[in-house]
């Protein structure tokens, strides 16, 4: 049982730290509103909850009753949701505090948190660099020590990639493990709420609380919440697959060194390490950039200015209202993806793009099943090809930006659980290693992460 005053103290301290980290532009909630709300939440938090008094920063595309939910977009400026996401309700029921809404790429579309209508978020250790994205705000706040944990969301690596860039732990659970109710949709068949923590344990226990069935989400599996594993003595009996497609010749040498060191640690811990192949990996990014925009083009159709959000009122007719509201309300990256998505779903192009992408997606998922069927428990890969890149570096080249997610999008396409944890640094910049697990076996993945976390010098240069 916790001290009933603890939450209030935590709330105040968290508010102070978040406000102090203001230069990161990671939190979108104004300081005054943040302090007031946290004070209120601290007083109301239930002391018997397993996360009693834990401040959790929440990505701005997850609906909360506290604060606005803008998805980093102008088109939802000032929008207050009349209901809260199931994941947020579960957090609050466990005694956690909603510690502000965090900056992100607009509607989750981006890999650097530069595509936010509210300005870019900064990397916590190097302000010239990006914190990753799209959940960059939550990652930066956790990495800066302002909050112990945060919620993000993934459609194609948007938790693991910023976790890797910021040197923290980021978990994307199996598709269907956490309810999507209240997560503003981007690519519904890929979207999943994920968690950030400074330790595997913090991330895992937040995940455990938000996981489990939800009658409001037809795609959420009717399973009990995730049970947390204990920290293992060794990894005896684990078979870890190393897929050659994730270690291309042009991989950043520091990233390769850090991975090699982590693989040595896995072996020392008693795991059997086996080289495997996932032959369709090269098609993952193109497949992703058909399916995600297709779904997005439909999911984002509702932002038309007719019911909520700012609208262009000078319109004489409906078409102008739509065009102007959407043309001005969405940023360039969102507009680009809506156009791509609309195109690939058009009659005459559907079969060539969307249907083939779905077929490829099935092959990518089959690659993983083949490996797991042959006795592999987990895959270990680098999370990203490079450490955090410079702000502006990839803005003019969308494809280069997309390729920074090359190792993370596969788990979304296959619906598998995956996580990133720090495995070293280069010139002060963190490097992340990725574990990909089998569907709904997050516990095994977290067990391996516990062992790796203890033995790998995550803060040391590789």
């Amino acid at each position: 049982m916790s001290d009933p005053g603890e939450a209030l103290a935590n709330a105040k301290a968290a508010a102070d730290r978040i406000v102090k980290a203001k230069r990161l532009n990671a939190c979108l909630t104004p300081p005054k509103e943040l302090r007031q709300s946290l004070q209120k939440q601290g007083q109301a938090a239930h002391p018997s909850g397993v996360l009693y008094g834990m401040p959790v920063a929440v990505k701005d595309n997850i609906c909360t009753l506290e604060f606005t939910t803008t998805c980093g977009s102008k088109i939802l400026a000032g929008y207050r949701s009349p209901y809260e996401a199931t994941a947020v309700a579960k957090l609050k029921a466990a005694g956690a505090l909603v510690a502000g809404k965090t900056n992100c790429d607009e509607f989750g579309m981006g890999s650097s948190t530069e595509h936010s209508a509210y300005g870019r978020a900064l990397h916590p250790f190097d302000k010239t660099r990006v914190p990753g994205g799209s959940s960059g705000g939550s990652a930066a706040l956790v990495a800066a020590g302002a909050v112990p944990a945060g919620l993000g969301s993934e459609t194609g690596g948007s938790v693991r990639q910023p976790a890797s860039f910021c040197g923290i732990v980021g978990i994307k659970p199996t598709y269907g493990r956490v309810s999507r109710y209240g997560l503003v949709a981007f690519g519904s068949s890929l979207d999943q709420i994920g968690v950030f923590g400074r330790s595997v344990h913090d991330a895992a226990r937040v995940l455990s609380v938000i996981s489990g069935r939800d009658p409001r989400d037809s795609t959420c599996e009717a399973r009990d919440p995730l049970r947390l594993p204990t920290v293992p003595e060794s990894l005896q009996g684990f078979v870890i697959g190393i897929a050659k497609e994730y270690f291309p010749p042009d991989l950043d040498p520091a990233v390769r060194r850090a991975c090699d060191r982590a693989i040595r640690v896995l072996k020392e811990l008693g795991a059997a390490v086996r080289e495997v192949s996932l032959p369709h990996t090269q098609y993952a990014v193109p497949t992703y950039y058909i399916i995600a925009p297709a779904e997005a083009s439909s999911n984002l159709a509702r932002y038309d200015g007719a019911r909520y959000g700012p609208r262009y009122d000078g319109a004489l007719d409906l078409r102008t209202l739509y065009r102007t509201t959407r043309g001005e309300g969405f940023g360039p990256e969102v507009r680009r993806r809506i156009l791509v998505g609309t195109y690939v779903l058009s009659s005459g192009y559907y079969d060539a793009y969307y249907r083939r992408a779905q077929q490829m997606r099935a092959l990518i998922a089959q690659d993983f099943r083949n490996v797991f069927d042959r006795g592999v428990d987990l895959l270990f890969t680098p999370t990203t090809p490079t450490p955090a890149f410079k702000a502006g570096e990839k803005l003019a080249d969308p494809v280069a930006m997309y390729l920074s997610d090359i190792f993370v999008v596969t788990a979304n396409l296959a619906g598998l659980p995956a996580m990133s944890l720090p495995i070293g640094r280069i010139k002060g910049l963190p490097i992340g290693g990725q574990l990909i697990g089998q569907a709904f076996l997050e516990d095994e993945m977290i067990e391996a992460a516990y062992a790796l976390e203890r033995m790998v010098p995550g803060a040391e240069d590789a």
Partner: protein, 478 residues
């Protein structure tokens, strides 16, 4: 069958039917008609950011029952798809429907064509979808108001082949469809409230030609009375065009009931590319054999079956059986009258003539309880009431209730079977009609019913007609 001048009409119908559920297709909001605007709404049917649909099981049950009632092949796996288009009364920017993999296909519905007799219409597909909201263009000047109460109300769409050869056939099919769906409790099928809506594809071709002509789609047919009219207007328009050497343009037309004409839908309202794709928020709809069997068990006896049974079980002719089974409530009522002991044929006559006649002027209410009608029929049969008196009793019971026997006594219309009393009436009648008596006696015996009638008239309908006839015959023979 033909439109005259050697033209043949070809019509196919797409019917949207609102399922009779308490709540909407993908959320718990009430699906009731007529609530104040925008009161039956929630984050899901408003399409608020982050909200997700969850299928309504009752709606799925009703849809499956509809498919079974229409003899469709039900697909063990069907897929919800998004139909994407922008309109202010469509808050998500897409409608959840089914496209490539519908719930059911390949059904059939038999109906009585006025031209061809018993005819079968093919049901090409039946799928589940949600309704859109309503745009109200006449509520505020120069502004459009949106009512989202209807948003997410569960519908099925039933698509026929190009099977109808006249507007009359199309209308008869619709009536039969409505009958079946009402019977099975699937829908209210109230066109005025929009719970049954129909769009028609119409084309014409030279009689004997195999290829179909260019079709137009006629929308906005919002009452049964307009079905025939709208389709005739469009058929005639096409024939006139072709006979004048023109061609029919493929387009969507709106029927205007005020002018009885059709006008093209504004071009910006049509030619959508709906960009259908499977809805990622909803897993495929999987029907187990057990679920389908349960729905089959829930289906009542359907009109066609019931009609056949009435003919054999109650020895009724096709015309009577057809009327009695046309409405499930009437059929149930008739059977209740029979089960209460009434003769099947007499009961049929009474229900068809008196009960339905009375219902017509009293909001389709069957006002006399079946037990009371059975008693009334028994009273006529047993000689206690004349047919004429029984009708008076019926009207009284319908109006004020009560036991027919008591009502008959209170009205003083119980038949008099006292031979002394009847004999006095007979003497009086014979005394008053000396001329006819003479004619009868000279062999004109067909005058007997005339005398019976006079006795009935004199007795105010109370004389037992059989007894009166017996006494008349005796006295006239004397």
């Amino acid at each position: 069958m033909t439109a005259g001048g050697g033209w043949e009409t070809v019509i196919g119908l797409e019917t949207h039917v609102q399922l009779r559920t308490a709540s909407k297709m993908f959320c718990g909001c009430s699906a009731a008609f007529g609530a104040p605007p925008n009161t039956n709404v929630c984050p899901v049917c408003l399409g608020l950011p982050g909200a997700l649909p969850v299928p309504n099981e009752q709606a799925l049950k009703l849809a499956v029952r509809a498919a079974l009632a229409l003899g469709c092949t039900l697909h063990p796996k069907s897929v919800f798809a998004r139909k994407n288009y922008f309109y202010p009364d469509l808050p998500k920017g897409y409608q959840i429907s089914q496209f490539e993999q519908p719930l059911a296909t390949d059904g059939a519905l038999s109906y009585l064509s006025p031209d061809r007799g018993l005819t079968t219409a093919t049901i090409v597909r039946l799928h589940v979808e949600e309704d859109a909201g309503k745009s109200l263009h006449d509520r505020f000047p120069k502004q459009t108001a949106i009512d989202l109460n209807r948003c997410g109300v569960p519908l099925i769409e039933i698509v026929t082949g190009p099977d109808f050869r006249s507007p009359q056939e199309a209308r008869r099919y619709l009536q039969t469809l409505k009958q079946v769906l009402e019977y099975a409790g699937i829908s209210d099928c109230d066109m005025e409230k929009g719970s049954l809506r129909v769009d028609a594809n119409v084309s014409v071709r030279r009689a004997g030609e195999a290829a179909l002509g260019t079709k137009t789609e006629v929308k906005n047919i919002n009452s049964f009375a307009y079905v025939e009219k709208a389709l005739s207007v469009e058929r005639d328009r096409q024939v006139a065009l072709l006979e004048g050497g023109g061609t029919v343009a493929q387009q969507t037309l709106l029927y205007d009931s005020k002018t009885s004409g059709v006008r093209p839908q504004r071009s910006k309202e049509e030619s959508h590319d709906y960009r259908y794709f499977p809805d990622p928020d909803l897993p495929p709809l999987v029907l187990t054999e057990e679920f389908v069997a349960q729905q089959q068990a829930q289906l009542p006896e359907l009109p066609a079956k019931k009609r056949e049974r009435f003919m054999t079980q109650y020895a009724l002719g096709v015309a009577d059986a057809d009327v009695l089974t046309g409405d499930r409530a009437v059929a149930d009522y008739y059977e209740a009258v029979v089960h209460a002991g009434a003769d099947t044929k007499l009961a049929a006559n009474w229900v068809i003539n008196e009960v339905l006649g009375d219902a017509k002027t009293h909001q389709e209410q069957l006002r006399v309880p079946p037990g009371a009608l059975a008693q009334l029929i028994g009273l006529v049969r047993g000689g206690t009431l004349s047919q004429q008196a029984a009708k008076r009793v019926f009207a009284e019971v319908a109006e004020r209730g009560g036991e027919p026997r008591n009502v008959a006594e209170a009205l003083g219309v119980v038949q008099v079977a006292d031979s002394g009393v009847v004999a006095r009436w007979v003497s009086e009648v014979l005394g008053a009609h000396q001329q006819e008596v003479t004619r009868y006696k000279s062999g004109e015996i067909k005058l007997l019913p005339f005398f019976v009638g006079q006795v009935m008239k004199l007795s105010g309908g109370k004389a037992d007609p059989k007894l009166a006839q017996k006494i008349l015959e005796e006295k006239l023979a004397a």
